[in-house]
Symmetry: C2
């Protein structure tokens, strides 16, 4: 067992002293690469120090790459080469989060194929922004609602692309829709009851719950959220995805939209949060007007994100508020700084203004369309009458109804064993798993074309019990 | 008055039609540059459409730069040159937020001098990151706590710079401390009573209030937060700035720190949030250990930001949680995505790892020290026995006590008239303005050296009633 004297400790903390002693022993070769260190508990007892002292020393050694840890086993010395040559990556390896199981085809996460992202253009635009924008402006704290240039670029984009006439002064930019939901709760009030679509994104419910608001999951019929159920729920605020509901893929027809607006019009504290998150990827048909654009009573809050249209790493989203809410925001929450850096806001503004965003969207649309068509062709060729493809007109996911006498959970588990990650509609209910839906949700944005034939093979394997 | 027929409206929305008609009239010169448009109300009445239709049309025309608006007057047509040549900037001008009054010396906002920011290095590092990092990783949604590389770089920096041994696995990265406070309320619970220092950052209180938590402002004595008052308040969670309190500049002595830790140790749901926001700029003397480093009972949450050490636009902050809170975070809030993009996280990680951050801090320290010394020298030379400089040892602000028989508000107003923005301690109380403090807070980070003599002149003008 290692023994270190505290005689020469001087002004060091104890953990610091132990950290330094062990480091020297590793550097001088007294502790060899791969050698196991004493357990924290026994070492602390042996040195007669408290456990936290040893914990801190080990944590530091680990952070700097001198040690690595093996779960349920303990700490080991790293090899010197690794420490000297690539200290950061060696410690990164030691500390890496437990690797997620890897699938060759992942139909669940909303990743994008990295080859498709226009890195070169993005960095060129960013360089250009740094060279041309007023340096002072770039470094300042961004105003609560975001940089005006970006809000104007978004307004122009919405007009060109979505036919929405939006005053940039009613747009608020924030670091992701999750962040904006947090702001919305503060703006609209925690005393209200919030309603969400059921099934829907489970994260959404968790965000509202973490904000301690009362939550009502509202069932859907074939046209989307059932307004009668909403009335009965007693909710004041409802969160909907009318342009492409997740996971059901329902596009809410105009009649239901008016019904919903009618509900909102009945009380002045009712609001509809319209989440339009993958409207850019409507692949067929004429889009139905957004709720926001037919809202004459200032009851709709429109929300959208660039995480979907650019890449998940971009934490840039925005919402459009009715005038009275924008005024309330400025009054009550205007003290916040915008949560996105000016660098990224100005870069995105220029990226949109110079037409790169539209070109990117168009490129992605044809890419996605081709991918979807290939996937559907392969599915129908291979599985034929065993399956039915549903809700394929809009957005980046569609549904696969199957007839086989298997439970949803069995199908998902069997697919995972074959390297395919997928989910069923039954998993997206607020209260947890519901009755078998026999409906797989295929979100194909992050799946490479090359992986499609093999993924369809796996589906056939499972569903046709081959 | 303009009259447009709706005969050829086709499938357009009404606002769209009006927008297009006006645009054509401007482009064809039928509406001249600078010409005033009819008021929204009268125009709506004239066309027999609802007000919102005209509002939308005007907003769109304004967003695209065809119109500009003059507050309390109305809408005017822009000149064609401006629209054609620089559509975005012309509309930017029309829409620009009401300009904040400009001061030649601003001792209130925590801006930095833009010349001091290492743009070239930052962009080089970013290019390098894009060229060398795994592209897939760069585009993915960042894990809830942030990218591991950045958390390791922060741990290393804290060790080298602050002597803190921190496990990177207990660090959470987020888009600004404001965002992290929001997360903390969700983590610690809204049922607790939160205490803040009074006087202190007023924004802090507003954030907690927007989160609907009960708030208790706690008075300070010369050693900082009064622990007896904290006990009496019934609060469970206290937010302190021990290394350099704002605005009082108090550095909490070690005895008071232990007293505070003692308070926290008495109940398992008590926590101290230690805000260390300008520790990098302690300019003299040996730093006192952070509360976090002497906390053996897992009661301290350490929080710090790069908005102060790099520039306000960087919305990158972090907190260090005790292990059990980190586990709770993963369990309850792990569904969140990190609110900072991977681009910025990887860039900052490399910026720190390659030593640029430390070099930048060192450069800024000597820059700030020289600036502070100059400011103090000018103050004492010019104002002599009229003033007393206090709390100048740490951080980026110090205090100026004056003897003149004037109210704080008078002094601040007079300074503003002379182009100097400053504040007095009396403005930072939670319940609003308190008794005259006769103490000006001079936050000098964003004031250029060249501006100092003139700023001191203005101070002398006001305080010596010249």
């Amino acid at each position: 067992v290692l023994t270190y004297s505290f005689e020469n400790i001087g002004s060091e903390y104890m953990y610091e002293h132990i950290y330094r002693c062990i480091r020297e022993d590793i550097l001088d070769g007294r502790i060899k690469a791969g050698e196991k260190l004493p357990s924290k508990r026994s070492f602390a007892k042996h040195l007669d120090v408290s456990l936290i002292v040893v914990e801190n020393a080990y944590a530091q050694l680990k952070a700097e790459g001198y040690l690595y840890s093996v779960p349920k086993s303990g700490y080991y010395a790293n090899s010197l080469e690794e420490i000297h040559v690539v200290p950061s990556s060696s410690s990164a390896r030691a500390l890496e989060e437990t690797e997620a199981p890897s699938y060759f085809a992942d139909f669940v996460t909303s990743a994008v194929e990295s080859e498709m992202f226009p890195y070169a253009v993005w960095t060129r635009v960013m360089r250009n922004v740094i060279a041309t924008e007023d340096e002072k402006k770039l470094l300042l704290e961004s105003p609560a609602a975001g940089v005006l240039k970006l809000r104007m670029a978004i307004a122009n984009h919405l007009y060109d692309f979505r036919g929405l006439a939006v005053d940039p002064n009613r747009i608020i930019v924030g670091a992701g829709t999750q962040f904006l939901y947090n702001i919305l709760v503060q703006l609209l009030g925690r005393e209200h009851i919030y309603a969400i679509e059921d099934p829907g994104y489970r994260r959404l419910g968790r965000i509202y719950e973490s904000n301690n608001v009362e939550l009502r999951p509202i069932p859907l019929d074939e046209y989307g959220l059932i307004v009668d159920a909403l009335v009965d729920s007693g909710a004041d605020i409802v969160h909907v995805m009318p342009s492409h509901q997740f996971p059901t893929g329902i596009v809410m027809p105009i009649s239901r939209r008016y019904e919903l607006l009618g509900w909102a019009s009945q009380r002045s504290d009712r609001y509809i949060i319209e989440d339009d998150h993958d409207c850019e990827f409507r692949l067929m048909g004429k889009p139905i007007p957004t709720l926001q654009s037919v809202d004459t009573l200032e009851r709709v809050i429109y929300i959208n994100t660039f995480s979907r249209s650019l890449a998940p790493t971009f934490r840039i989203s925005y919402m459009i508020l009715p005038l009275h809410l924008m005024q309330r925001f400025e009054q009550r929450l205007g003290f916040y700084s915008c949560s996105v850096s000016n660098f990224e806001q100005f870069t995105l503004a220029k990226f949109i203004q110079d037409g790169h965003f539209e070109r990117h969207i168009n490129r992605m649309r044809s890419h996605y369309r081709a991918k979807r068509d290939l996937l559907i062709k392969e599915l129908t060729t291979t599985l034929g009458s065993q399956i039915k493809v549903l809700k394929k007109e809009s957005g980046l996911h569609f549904l696969l109804r199957f007839d086989a006498p298997m439970s949803d959970q069995y199908v998902v588990a069997q697919l995972k064993e074959r390297g395919v990650c997928a989910s069923c509609i039954s998993e997206y209910y607020h209260e947890g798993f519901q009755n078998d839906s026999h409906t797989i949700v295929l979100n194909y944005s992050g799946v490479a074309r090359e992986a499609i034939p093999r993924a369809v093979e796996a589906l056939a394997d499972v569903l046709m019990q081959r």
